[in-house]
């Protein structure tokens, strides 16, 4: 036990790269265990030279593991530090290593889901999609590059942070910082979701509520216009002055609802979906149901 093996940067980089494939063998039995073991292999090879230690290490990391795929990085970092200690002959047993892994995976998954899946991806996705819907190739490019740069930077730096902080990381993370990040992300997420509901959930009610005959002078009197370009110009000027194009003012149900709050119906629909989900209705059933409502509503002239 004379020489002290340390993991150099290249080996840590290899582990980080492999952790990209963490979920590759995701299975119903032990979930991310195969991926975790796969990621640890470069470190195990470097730290343990005799076969018995290697077998023990491999088995140790084939135990049950499951967390948010990016949040696994700080856990891997801590695990690397622990394995290093163990290889140096200090008193780190299997229980300690597994305990740290299992102890960290729950709370960290609780942070990763709101930050990555519920804030960052909907935001970048909506940004990219709104560009893409007008045929702009920048939409997908921005989404792809921004996501992967953020992801890779996060995974590498948190793994390094975990490695350097060793055991202390759990104390750090259980403190205020982690809570702050989660809270900030949910504020931002809810804010953006509010605007997404207004902008992108679309329902248009077709039925006409009222048709009001307008007074003379409140609409453009087409017969009085000259039939040439000057007539067209005059019509446009009059329209610009706020005159109606038709002698009647048609108000649809949608206009009425919009004058209350723009986007009221999309909001109600979203709240209704939330309620259904809480009642354990499968999202797939709701999706299919909404398509059926769309088709039927269109057929009877409501939508």
């Amino acid at each position: 036990m004379a020489e002290k093996v340390r993991l150099d940067k290249k080996e840590r980089m290899q582990v980080a790269w492999r952790s990209t494939f963490l979920q590759g063998s995701w299975n119903y039995e032990r979930m991310q265990n195969g991926g975790f073991c796969y990621a640890m292999i470069p470190a195990i090879k470097a730290l343990y030279k005799n076969k018995e230690d290697q077998v023990a290490a491999l088995k140790r990391h084939l135990e049950f593991f499951n967390t948010h795929p990016y949040m696994a990085s700080p856990i891997i970092g801590v695990t690397l530090a622990l394995e290093e200690d163990r290889a140096h002959g200090s008193n780190v047993d299997d229980q300690t290593i597994n305990g740290v892994k299992v102890g960290m995976m729950g709370p960290l998954a609780g942070v990763g889901d709101p930050v990555f899946w519920f804030t960052l991806r909907p935001m970048l996705g909506a940004l990219g999609a709104s560009l893409a819907m007008s045929g702009n190739v920048l939409g997908p490019i921005i989404f792809f590059l921004a996501w992967n740069i953020i992801r890779w930077a996060f995974m590498w730096y948190t793994q390094e942070f975990g490695y350097k902080a060793g055991m202390k990381i759990t104390d750090d993370l259980s403190g205020g910082l982690l809570q702050k990040v989660t809270k900030g992300a949910s504020i931002l997420g809810m804010f953006v979701l509010g605007s997404l509901v207004e902008r992108w959930v679309t329902i248009n009610f077709k039925p006409v509520v009222s048709t009001v005959q307008l007074q003379d002078g409140a609409f453009i009197d087409w017969d009085a216009l000259i039939q040439d370009k000057y007539g067209i110009r005059e019509a446009l000027i009059q329209q610009g002055q706020g005159l109606s194009l038709t002698p009647e003012k048609v108000t649809t149900l949608q206009d009425n609802l919009n004058s209350l709050i723009p986007g009221l119906v999309p909001l109600l629909l979203t709240l209704f979906c939330m309620w259904l989900l809480k009642k354990n209705v499968s999202p797939i059933v709701i999706i299919i149901g909404l398509f059926i409502v769309g088709i039927l509503g269109h057929l009877i002239g409501l939508l």
């Binding site: 709101p114 519920f118 809270k183 979701l193 992108w200 979906c273």
Partner: protein, 270 residues
């Protein structure tokens, strides 16, 4: 469609399948997968617009807890293939999305199948670990990822070998009331994804921010970037005030009623 295009599309489908399980590079997101398939088949614009439209529907799709979301990878790949096969360009987007949604649901069963098949694979890893056979463990990990790639690549290949005319006739034979109704439904389905996300995040503390975002979005001059910036500002302001309230409370006289009304209100929310 040339052999090269076919091979490229199957390759993209393979990447999307891997992306669907790894959730790292995001090749399975409609924005990326549809654009790539549009690009290799020379219909970039249609692919990009399809990707954008489908992405809006799939924004909140994430497998969390008991709620299983439809499979974005199969939906993106299948709808993009159908779109490029039909040759209808931008006009065919509505109908290809209509076909994609049921496929996304069907994709769930393939996902469950693949995740079950991975169980014997990790058992092989256990065996390899007994003898410290690093290479074998790595091999099984790679094979498991490839299986996930095939989960999408095989259905994609099957779709590609259906002759273009059949796809075209099928899409054109869909009556207008059906496609119009489907696109109306598509406008509403977006709400399901948002509802899933809101359910995960909502607490009494953050609901007001939802309301502000909802009202501000009605100002159509604001781009999404601007809305995002306002949101970040709100989050920072809130966190700072929260800290201040907590600090004032800690130093104040008596517990709770520190003479800092804001801090008290914030504390009461907890």
């Amino acid at each position: 469609m040339s052999i090269f295009t076919i091979i490229m599309i199957i390759l993209i489908a393979f990447l999307a399948g891997m992306g669907g399980i790894l959730d790292e590079f995001q090749f399975h997101q409609p924005l990326v997968a549809c654009t790539l398939i549009g690009m290799v088949s020379g219909q970039l614009e249609a692919g990009v617009i399809l990707g954008g439209s489908l992405q809006m529907i799939a924004l909140g799709w994430a497998n969390i807890g008991a709620a299983v979301a439809p499979d974005a990878a199969l939906a993106s790949v299948a709808s993009a293939i159908i779109l490029v096969q039909s040759g209808m360009g931008v006009e065919g987007i509505g109908s290809s999305i209509a076909v994609a949604i049921p496929l996304a649901v069907a994709g769930l069963f393939l996902t469950m199948l693949a995740r079950t098949l991975a169980v014997p694979m990790v058992h092989m890893m256990d065996k390899a670990a007994e003898n410290a056979e690093f290479g074998k463990i790595q091999l099984w990990q790679v094979l498991a990822i490839c299986m996930q790639g095939l989960r999408i690549a095989i259905p994609a290949a099957a779709l590609l070998f259906i002759p273009a005319e059949i796809v075209q006739n099928f899409l054109q034979s869909m009556p207008a009331w059906l496609t119009d109704g489907m696109s109306i439904g598509g406008g509403m389905v977006v709400a399901v994804g948002y509802a899933m996300v809101i359910n995960m995040m909502a607490t009494r503390e953050v609901w007001p921010f939802f309301a502000i975002g909802f009202c501000i979005a009605a100002i159509s001059e604001l781009t999404l970037m601007a809305i995002g910036a306002i949101g970040v500002a709100f989050a920072l302001i809130y966190l700072q005030l929260y800290d201040r309230g907590a600090a004032a409370n800690a130093g104040g006289v008596g517990n709770g009623n520190s003479g800092d009304p804001l801090g008290d209100i914030l504390d009461d929310y907890e």
